[in-house]
């Protein structure tokens, strides 16, 4: 049995890297796919709109943990493969992020007044030119505060990867506890580490919100 000391703390810090890496990968992937989903969601074609809406509702209406279980255990059984934890978590959290970011982008695009679309149309811009030069630049600005807010939600959500054994910060805490039998120190320290990552992001998001004078995003994930 070990006691919790600097080398144990170093182990936790090393695990923080995985939390951050997972969050970053999922965030970037989510931005890329979420963008496509948002475009589909506002498109003229009702099939695209329906598919995008269904995607968003499934990922926002089911627990992240279940999504993870399906990615890790479900697909492994389905395709008779051994899926690595990293593959499962990065795919699952990317898909999860894409849904939330897509919804944020959709809201931002729909917040642009109809007259902007009309004015762009009346100078003979094609649909994609209207999006690219008029609508999306404005939507992008609006979407920044809630996007930063979502990043906080994502970092917290990655803790759930511990349950399938992926070694990020929370799992490292569990492992440390098994070795040192000192959960009363370890878990609060783990919480503090998450706080150090998330709180500045939350404050930044609030600052951005104030600057854009928009009131959104008081609900957040667990």
């Amino acid at each position: 049995m070990r006691t919790f000391g600097p080398s144990e703390f170093a182990f936790l810090l090393a695990a923080v890297r995985w939390t951050l890496l997972l969050s970053l990968v999922a965030f970037c992937g989510g931005i890329a796919f979420g963008f496509l989903i948002a475009l589909a969601r506002v498109s003229r074609f009702f099939v695209l709109r329906g598919l995008a809406q269904a995607y968003i509702q499934v990922f926002q209406g089911t627990p992240v943990l279940i999504q993870l279980f399906i990615a890790y255990y479900g697909f492994a059984v389905l395709f008779d493969l051994r899926i690595e934890a990293w593959t499962a978590v990065s795919l699952a959290f990317t898909a999860y992020s894409a849904a939330f970011l897509g919804e944020i982008w959709r809201g931002a695009i729909q917040a642009i007044p109809r007259q902007q679309w009309e004015s762009a149309e009346c100078i003979s811009l094609s649909y994609f030119a209207q999006l690219r030069y008029v609508i999306l630049p404005q939507a992008f600005r609006i979407s920044i505060p809630p996007t930063v807010g979502f990043l906080v939600q994502l970092v917290k959500a990655t803790s759930v990867a511990a349950i399938i054994g992926f070694i990020e910060l929370t799992r490292a805490g569990q492992l440390m506890t098994n070795v040192t039998f000192q959960p009363m120190i370890i878990y609060p320290i783990v919480a503090a580490l998450y706080f150090v990552i998330c709180w500045p992001l939350s404050q930044f998001s609030r600052l951005l919100e104030r600057r854009f004078d928009a009131s959104r995003g008081i609900t957040q994930g667990l």
């Binding site: 627990p63 279980f69 998450y194 008081i218 609900t219």
Partner: protein, 223 residues
């Protein structure tokens, strides 16, 4: 893909899944009501309390909103015993959910109170309405109406987030699904059905809360 779907096996265990779903609903209800009560208290303390109390509430809210629920749960279940408080898994689950929801709800309620139009409060004062009770009724009622959608969303988030309590083996749908799939090796079918059940529960909750809104704030006001 050589996998043969066998949803029939899932159907055989319907009773257990229903029990899981009901447990999830029970946890959600307890967490929401407990958290709401806690939040109401906290919002009051935050506005009317002495400075250290206000800071305590602000810290509580910030800690809850910037740490993962799973870690909060682990602190309640694994760390508290060091202080002599040993909770059963189900107790820790409800307490954790309530404390977590309370944090978010406090912030939501606070923004609702700030959003009550100043004019209403001044008008009430000017009319000389008997201060405490009736005055509170105007502010609280209005604030609640304003934040109801945000609270409703947060309750659905609570419902979905309750799946995490399976990590400490508390009784709810995900935990039960876990044990069922490990018994039958039908991981995909069981998790798929569990996802569908959660979707259904989330939808039903949204509908229920929306009807409640209509009953209390729309129909109830036609007086």
């Amino acid at each position: 893909m050589r996998y043969v779907f066998q949803f029939g096996i899932v159907a055989d265990r319907t009773d257990e899944l229903v029990h899981g779903a009901l447990s999830t609903l029970w946890l959600t209800a307890c967490g929401a009501l407990g958290g709401l009560a806690l939040a109401t208290l906290c919002v009051f303390l935050r506005t009317a309390g002495p400075r250290p109390v206000r800071w305590a509430v602000i810290s509580y809210v910030e800690v809850i909103r910037n740490t993962p629920f799973l870690v909060q749960l682990f602190v309640l279940y694994f760390s508290l015993p060091a202080l002599g408080i040993r909770l059963y898994a189900d107790q820790a689950a409800i307490l954790g959910l309530a404390i977590s929801f309370g944090g978010y709800a406090t912030e939501i309620l606070r923004s609702g109170i700030e959003a009550v139009p100043r004019g209403q409060i001044e008008a009430a004062r000017a009319l000389g309405l008997r201060p405490f009770k009736i005055f509170r009724r105007i502010i609280v009622f209005q604030a609640f109406k304003i934040v109801y959608p945000a609270l409703a969303s947060q309750i659905v988030i609570l419902l979905l987030g309750s799946s995490v309590v399976s990590a400490i083996s508390a009784t709810e749908l995900t935990a039960i699904t876990n044990s069922l799939q490990s018994q039958t090796f039908r991981a995909f079918e069981f998790y798929f059905v569990a996802a569908a059940i959660y979707l259904g529960l989330a939808f039903a909750t949204k509908v229920l809360l929306a009807s409640l809104y209509w009953l209390v704030f729309v129909r109830g006001r036609e007086a």
